[in-house]
Symmetry: C2
Subunit: 430 residues, 2 copies
């Protein structure tokens, strides 16, 4: 596929879906699709992922972690031993819940974040956090059920939930994250409409894509509101340890073992290529969640799990996190400085204190989706804001990722982006 | 968990589910479960898996491949290089569809089985074949839709489909596999009842658990019947290359690219611990299937995929398959000889010409489920037949696996099993 075809794909994903459906509808198999199949969407992020590896482009699109600081040669020797000396275990089927060692280690990671009472028996190791989101949607949501989420929120979670015909209801955020009063009002309105609200899906620390963090002072209040309304919280915390100042905010799960299903991931503190995450599930919900995990993958990969376990056992993973925090903090600072220097009036952005992302707002009424094409022509890639909301409306926002790009490239990428945004702002008469 | 608790678990899985539900129903979160959550079952196979690793027991339960013949030291060196020298790729996020190299190689594997027209663009790499079954159920089945299957069939597929509230309809088999006339009659009856039939799920070669193979002369007829009825075939072929005489039977997919969604797996011809399989999807169905795969795992593990690719590229994988066939053939012969020598009259069994399993039938009216407890006391483990049918009726069948156990242990296991079966047959007055 050529570059242009590919970028055209992104811009016309909706059109293409329609065409696709029209093409399929000429086939007698069209009638075989489930209702939910028509809710499974193209992910703009994934398409941009394919584009963004083209040479010459500066990609501020993908939220990939920086892996060059991992001790790859040593890890190679570690994985060699796992296969050569423990191959009958690492290459064989394993337990559906995951290895006991890794479940114990996940508890140690959570303890470092502030969850001190996790029991390995309540954990299920998952094929990345994505699989846990899929299973949560499956186990809890009937078609038409409501899941509350931040606005904006993680596109992969939107895709996971929408595939089960879930109605996603965005709850307004301000600079301190979810607004408790707005959450209460939203729940009240939905209940008046007779809706069944099952969960609040939240990324409280360094939300993807906005970088916004739920303030410490609001956290228990959010849990209490949900608890009072009998709504389960699905807390997705892949970036929690990556707070620039080094002090992770206490997760919602910490004091609320019955009311929060917590999702952890090794993708951002170790490596996404192993596809290993975990779910810490309230005990009264654990069995069904675990059985559903087994029904989707039989078992998580023993090879991947043993590599993650060895990494947590034999390496200074806390030091790697410390170094990563400093690196991401410096990259974030570079991005913020470049934005201040180059972007026109009328564009604002968030100032994250952790994670991978900065979220830009253009003047009301602008649509960042068509700007992506211009940005690619200018040699830089971002993700348009529309990807991160359940709404089909145009969005005047966009996401920039600073995690995977060296500082000088961040600066260059913002420099390339600036005239694209300036033209758009000027054309809109601002 | 102790041995006894664990075996009690198996025997009382249904009771425990009821207790579990009762316990959960005392919790205010009970109302949060989806309807489908109550269709997600305990897998007897997985529980027996946990038991069967106890020292001293002969496990004829788990369908694990034999891995000692893999060149583990060399594979260790291979995976070392994949991490040490290509870690920025193998440990990073990858493409949702899987790597192009592995999709090309999957086509080579299928060519060796008789599918010569597969296009890498039509393949999606999946987290084991299980994930492909889950996605197929998700993309094609509404609650109440019917999926036809062999009787007996793979327990993991039953679990995957039942989790989507699919109605599984077993179609009778004889020694030559699915009976075409029975399939036609079944479709006609279901249609008269107004049922929506979406798929035929079939393991045509060396069916798990029965070891029965769909005769070559019946294969196209089965496809034609489904095609005429507009029913998609989901062909699950993990054992296809493991035909003892070395000549794989041509898959249903071979001449029927539009009507068969083919599932392949590296678990039986390489190693299950990497959790890598693939789906070859009819082109008009590919896009939705692929997007659904992405929504459940984002991407298959690049590390696992690169290891499988290196194995297929740098090792004599066909020779490994040849050696595996001979090994499994010898183990199967040992099992059949031991069954002939030790089992009482009234017990019969299948004679597979490939795969991992022999399927035993006790006299009508007997239930093999309670016999498992006695067998464990006698030092041998099997899987009761009830695990492999959608029905809740007791089953007079049981599955024995010869794949993972040395010949002398197979003989010893059958020797231990014999008195348990003899007592049951005698007690039943046969």
């Amino acid at each position: 596929m050529t570059f242009e075809e590919n970028s055209a794909d992104i811009l016309h994903a909706d059109t293409q879906t329609a065409l696709d459906r029209a093409a399929a509808s000429t086939h007698r198999h069209e009638a075989l699709f489930s209702d939910r199949a028509f809710h499974i969407k193209q992910s703009a992020v994934r398409d941009v992922f394919d584009i963004s590896i083209r040479p010459g482009l500066v990609s501020l699109a993908g939220g990939s972690p920086y892996l060059r600081s991992l001790p790859l040669a040593d890890l190679g020797e570690t994985v060699r031993r796992i296969v050569a000396e423990q191959g009958l275990e690492s290459l064989q089927y394993g337990a559906g819940q995951g290895t006991e060692e890794l479940r114990r280690q996940a508890c140690e990671v959570m303890a470092a974040e502030g969850i001190t009472d996790a029991d390995p028996a309540d954990i299920v190791i998952t094929t990345g956090s994505q699989s846990a989101q899929d299973v949560a949607a499956k186990v809890f949501c009937n078609p038409g059920d409501v899941v509350l989420c931040e606005d904006p929120t993680y596109v992969g979670a939107l895709n996971a939930f929408e595939a089960y015909e879930v109605e996603l209801q965005p709850v307004p955020m301000d600079a301190d994250g979810l607004v408790p009063e707005a959450l209460e009002a939203c729940i009240a309105t939905l209940r008046e409409q007779g809706k069944s609200i099952k969960m609040l899906y939240t990324i409280p620390s360094f939300n993807n894509p906005s970088g916004i963090t739920l303030a410490a002072g609001r956290r228990q209040r959010i849990v209490d509101i949900c608890k009072a309304a009998n709504i389960l919280i699905l807390e997705d915390n892949p970036y929690g340890m990556l707070r620039f100042d080094g002090m992770p905010l206490t997760p919602l799960r910490a004091g609320n073992p019955d009311d929060v299903l917590y999702l952890g991931s090794f993708s951002k503190i170790f490596a996404p290529g192993v596809r290993v995450g975990w779910a810490l599930v309230p005990r009264h919900l654990h069995r069904r969640f675990y059985l559903a995990c087994e029904a989707v993958v039989l078992c998580p990969s023993p090879l991947s799990q043993m590599l993650v376990s060895a990494y947590l056992r034999d390496y200074d993973w806390m030091e790697h996190i410390r170094a990563s925090r400093l690196l991401y903090a410096a990259r974030c600072a570079s991005m913020l400085a470049a934005l201040t220097e180059h972007l026109p009036d009328g564009v604002s952005w968030t100032v994250p204190d952790g994670g991978f992302f900065v979220w830009l707002s253009l003047p009301e009424g602008l649509d960042t989706y068509p700007l992506l094409y211009e940005a690619i022509d200018a040699g830089v890639v971002f993700i348009p804001g529309a990807a991160f909301t359940p709404s089909d409306e145009p969005s005047n926002k966009l996401r920039l990722a600073f995690s995977a790009v060296p500082e000088e490239d961040i600066t260059e990428g913002v420099r390339r982006l600036a005239p694209v945004l300036r033209r758009a702002v000027d054309a809109a008469g601002h």
